[in-house]
Symmetry: C2
Subunit: 277 residues, 2 copies
């Protein structure tokens, strides 16, 4: 096994690369796995992307992202369910079994985090069986609490698992992303809880540095540059039984200004250095 | 009881006002309580501030802040303990019984949150008895997890109470600040836990809006402008037995550009509107 066998490059880390450029760069570097995002895939065409990825011999580890399931307005809610159904179909077409969900924030004017989380559960009860029919698992991704109001009311692995465990594990699990959970001293125990029922559907790495940029979206740091003990988190998920791919997903304005192939090579090297084979 | 009896204006909310201007504005508006910060107090003089505040008939609800107790370097550690001892003395001189602690972030290059929290406990074992001798209680303030690396490794009320409960309640308790805990679904139970042992040493209000500004320090929103159900949190602390002052502490670049008296009047009005007398 080479050190990159479990490495997956999330497309957003090198979003400056087109899909054909990404496939070619992966081939040159020996990268075998990619995590894809819906918007660039839709731009290139879902079927065309599937063909490109298949012919390049790449495995799609996840599709990001479904979710945004917290609307109270019936029309917005129906639209969200439709959109998530399409996301499931796209995941199936791309040949991945994992759709990552970012649950959504508070509706405008609402202060009710509890109600928003219950609406997510309601939506999952519709989506999860649909996804199963397509051979796709849903992975609820808890996002850092700094996103609780506007992006994701699910802020901890505890909350994500409380939602996921209402459904069978092959329908709904969680996404474990170091950037979002590294501060949480309960997270190791929650990873064990997730692993015990087979609910770790993906494991993603990013590092944490400060100062955070305005809007706090695009400050996810290159592996090794920040405060997160990445290898410790890898040990937690592997002790919990996770043997799947490890995705590196960085949103970083500085990385995006650089040559995408160079960033991919650097990311692969950092992965090798900061994970245990 | 007027609606402002329990209102305390934290000095940072209107930092554009000098201490005499603040005292005068409080008198004009019927504001009875202030929370002070060490830096402007030191600039004006600690004794002089104490005299000014006393003659204005104001009560000092808290002094912010001690803390930054996570250094590993022995010299830096000794300097931090010295500085905190001075902070205790300043609190006593100002006539407040509560010193708020911001615990400190990770030392440069460290990824060890657990070790940092243990160093805080070690420091408290020195500081807490010193503070008691001066009639001062220490209030550990959990800061939002977005500050975990560079400012405060204590990110939840749970962690703050786990530290505080190693000491008598009249020595060490917690600061409950809505801005830092509003996302945490365990916080209501932890407030009850804190109240049951008399450890809610201060209650502070700020609201949460996005996008967060670069550095995420100065985006604390005016009461009512954001996502936090302030009255619900007031109910939690009061159900837990808290009857003390309610401080409004906003760090907000936009508020700081405005006339300080106008901001104080607005803040008092918002307090009246968004709290229960």
């Amino acid at each position: 096994m080479t050190s990159l066998n479990r490495f997956s490059i999330n497309q957003m880390t090198v979003k400056q690369l087109s899909l054909p450029e990404l496939a070619e760069a992966c081939a040159q570097l020996g990268v075998l796995n990619v995590g894809l995002w819906r918007e660039p895939v839709q731009s290139y065409g879902v079927e065309a992307t599937a063909k490109l990825i298949r012919e390049a011999g790449l495995t799609v580890t996840t599709l990001c992202r479904g979710g945004f399931l917290t609307a109270t307005d019936p029309t917005a809610r129906a639209a969200a369910l439709d959109d998530n159904r399409r996301a499931v179909e796209e995941a199936a077409t791309l040949g991945t079994d994992t759709l990552v969900l970012v649950s959504g924030g508070l509706p405008s004017g609402s202060k009710d985090l509890y109600g928003a989380r219950e609406r997510i559960a309601d939506a999952l009860s519709v989506l999860a069986p649909q996804a199963e029919q397509h051979g796709v698992k849903l992975a609820i991704e808890p996002l850092h609490p700094m996103y609780a109001s506007d992006r994701c009311v699910v802020s901890t692995l505890t909350q994500a698992l409380d939602l996921a465990e209402r459904f069978p594990a092959h329908q709904v699990g969680v996404a474990v992303d170091t950037y979002h959970i590294w501060w949480d001293d309960r997270a190791p125990a929650e990873i064990a809880r997730a692993g015990a029922t087979g609910r770790i559907h993906t494991f993603q790495l990013a590092d944490w540095t400060t100062p955070l940029p305005e809007g706090v979206l695009n400050g996810r740091a290159q592996l090794g540059d920040g405060a997160i003990d990445l290898r410790a988190w890898q040990t937690h998920v592997e002790t919990a039984g996770y043997t799947g791919a490890i995705e590196v997903e960085l949103f970083n304005d500085t990385l995006w200004t650089r040559d995408g192939r160079e960033v991919l090579a650097e990311t692969a090297a950092r992965f090798t250095h900061h994970t245990t084979p």
